[in-house]
């Protein structure tokens, strides 16, 4: 996909905004390893989505593309984990192991359009990160550049395969997806606070509970039901 002149202007404006944002955000204390770890988690999740898609698509050609893509994403996750570990100076938590099974929920065409959007966003982010680190940490910049090269290729092939009419649906889903994630992140502190309060309010019940039973207990009836 070749961007037109309007796109180029938009990208350049985006790029400038991104540079400002990342210059600030990478400098926050403890931010570097967390951000690299989050990237690694995203790449690992993407690898799982693509392996899942490879096993479900009816097209062997697409299965092959998804498998290659998944292999790249898994390699990116390893690279980013390495740099996150370096930045933290100690071991990292386990990468989360889950994915949203987008292929199943969206269907192949919208899935492809959604992946294309993600790759385009990823490519723009990595361009900004490479610019940021090129003078400050050339080795990390080189690692990110190697990932960027793959992102460009992924963006191209998914763009070629994604049907134009599915892109609107993918955009809608993307917005909804981000809204839900942001909503969950914003409401979680409220939920946690309420649960802490509920725990305190319910605590007198603990006085009624007594000790947990020990040893063998006599048989009781099964509680099957509906």
């Amino acid at each position: 996909m070749q961007p037109n002149a309007g796109d180029a202007e938009e990208v350049s404006l985006r790029a400038r905004l991104a540079d400002v944002f990342y210059t600030w955000s990478w400098r926050l204390p403890g931010r570097r390893w967390r951000r690299l770890f989050a990237f690694a988690a995203a790449e690992a999740e993407s690898a799982l989505e693509l392996r899942y898609a490879a096993a479900r698509t009816e097209s062997p050609e697409r299965a092959a593309l998804y498998l290659r893509h998944a292999e790249d994403e898994a390699r990116h996750a390893r690279i980013l984990l390495h740099w996150a570990r370096q930045a933290r100076g100690q071991s990292l938590p386990d990468l989360p192991r889950a994915h949203a099974q987008l292929f199943r929920h969206l269907g192949e065409n919208v899935f492809l359009a959604f992946v294309h959007r993600g790759e385009r966003r990823g490519r723009r982010q990595f361009e900004a990160h490479v610019r940021f680190f090129s003078k400050r940490d050339p080795r990390l910049a080189a690692a990110l550049r190697s990932i960027l090269a793959d992102e460009v290729q992924h963006e191209r092939y998914t763009g070629e395969l994604a049907e134009h009419e599915c892109r609107k649906q993918a955009r809608r889903f993307d917005v909804l997806h981000r809204y839900r994630r942001a909503g969950a992140a914003l409401t979680y502190p409220l939920f946690a606070g309420l649960m802490a309060l509920l725990y305190v309010l319910a605590s007198p019940l603990s006085l009624l509970l007594g000790r947990a039973p020990r040893g063998w207990q006599a048989a009781r009836r099964s509680t099957g039901g509906d």
Partner: protein, 573 residues
Amino acid sequence: MPAVLGVSAHYHDAAAALVIDGKLVAAQQEERLSRVKNDPSLPMNAIEACLTLGEIRSTDLDRVVFYENPYRKLERVMVSALRGFPRGTAFFRRALRSQLGDKLWVLDDLAAHLGVPRKRMHFVDHHESHAASALFCAPFGDVPHSSIAALTVDGVGEEETTAIWRLEDGRPRRLASIAYPHSLGLFYAAVTAYCGFRVNEGEFKVMGLAAFGEPRYRDAFDHFLQVEGGAFTLDRAAFADHLDGARAFGRPFVEALGEPRTPAQKWNYRGQRIQGEDARFADVARSAQDALEDALLTLAEHARALTGATHLVLAGGVALNSCANARLLREGPFERVFVQPAAGDAGGALGAALLGAQDEGDALALGEPFCADLGVPIRPATAAAIADALGLRTTAVVDPNETLAARIAGGDVIALARGRCEFGPRALGHRSLLARADDEALRDRINARIKKREPFRPFAPAMLESTAPALLRDAPNDMTPYMTTVCRVRDRSPLQGTTHVDGTARAQTVQSGPLAPLLRCMESHGLHSVLNTSLNGPGEPLAATEADAIDVLIRHKPDGLLIDDLLIERPNR
């Protein structure tokens, strides 16, 4: 034609099983299809696969049975959190989030996803599902029901962690149980976390590690896990599962055993020995394994006294401890012991489906040998097309078993995918990586390069049942076809690559199935066994589909992949 679906989900290792007309037609773990190891989510992929294999639609289902009681489970979780007040704030929050988020509404969710009326949704108790999966799948057709006891030993179900059962009128009847928080599963989980492994996944590693250690910490474990009066209790101060499921052990562990191991650190392993500071973790593992085995022997003796049975079946996650199962058979009071290969939570779906079929009035065919190849099939034509698109080399071989035998005899590591995927954690020849069993260097190569796992972990040999007496000191038994036990290896047996440091092997004895013709061909190459390990990479579920198998080939680089008569190889090999 009653069709009953059993479902386990929302803890770890979700699965579905389908019974039609009293016959088990399909069982599938969700992880194999979602590609997320131990995937706990509602197993919609597995359900779809089971329905496809049963050639029915979801609306044809007469009954859907969930493997545990979600309401009693919520009650236990709340009680447990309140008992931990005030330290259980985070646990309370997490528990309510998961219970109220998914678990409490699971029957409604299933009904909505399947388009099946809510009144067809049912549940049974967690341990009853386990008991049914063991009792109904045991190969004890010639034995009266009164002679068979079941022992279910788990982390925790609703509130039970351990129970003794027997069949009455063809239905499992609970005779006695031990309640949470006293749990052998949680005991072993704490040791797993202490040794730096992931809980609910690294328990096999602790068992393997134990063989390298001495029981130097047995006194500490006798304090943490006290066995008395045919039962056991945990010293709750030493455990933290009610505060943090991933950490699972408390301060007394650290005071008695030292600092825990940092996860993912490289092991200090050389020349079949674990050295330096890591030797302490081997000693901890050995001490814990011994304590667990002694507790299980006590439970088995109690089960024998309570039931008078001569045959024992086990289920629950702890029943996957193959070393303990071997000791139960060797030293316990039962003539025969059986553990089906999906004894963990995935097997709960199997038990739930079989119980549901009984409730529908089906007569279950009991006592027949259990066939584990219950999952999705593999299609060579699809594999060939994907391989071509990836630029891999494909060859249609005339005699696949002979080709495979020759390649293995020549020192290659070959992936084999045949027929339907196994149900349960063991690869039994349908999705396996195979190699010579007599080559220690090959074992180390597979551990380091292909499986990329801890260097101390052993591999299993598969052999014809007729050959086993010449290779093993222990006779083949009801568990050896499923790799749910270990056997002592004869001195000078050509099993150097698959014999653990303690002189045992988790041997698979084969009479039929995909490995039988291969093993016969291997005889002509002077080999009487084959190293058989699961077809996957580190942290990945067993390969199920063509794409998964090819993914293993291109990423983990075994020397070839054989799918029926199609040999796939990397071009630059």
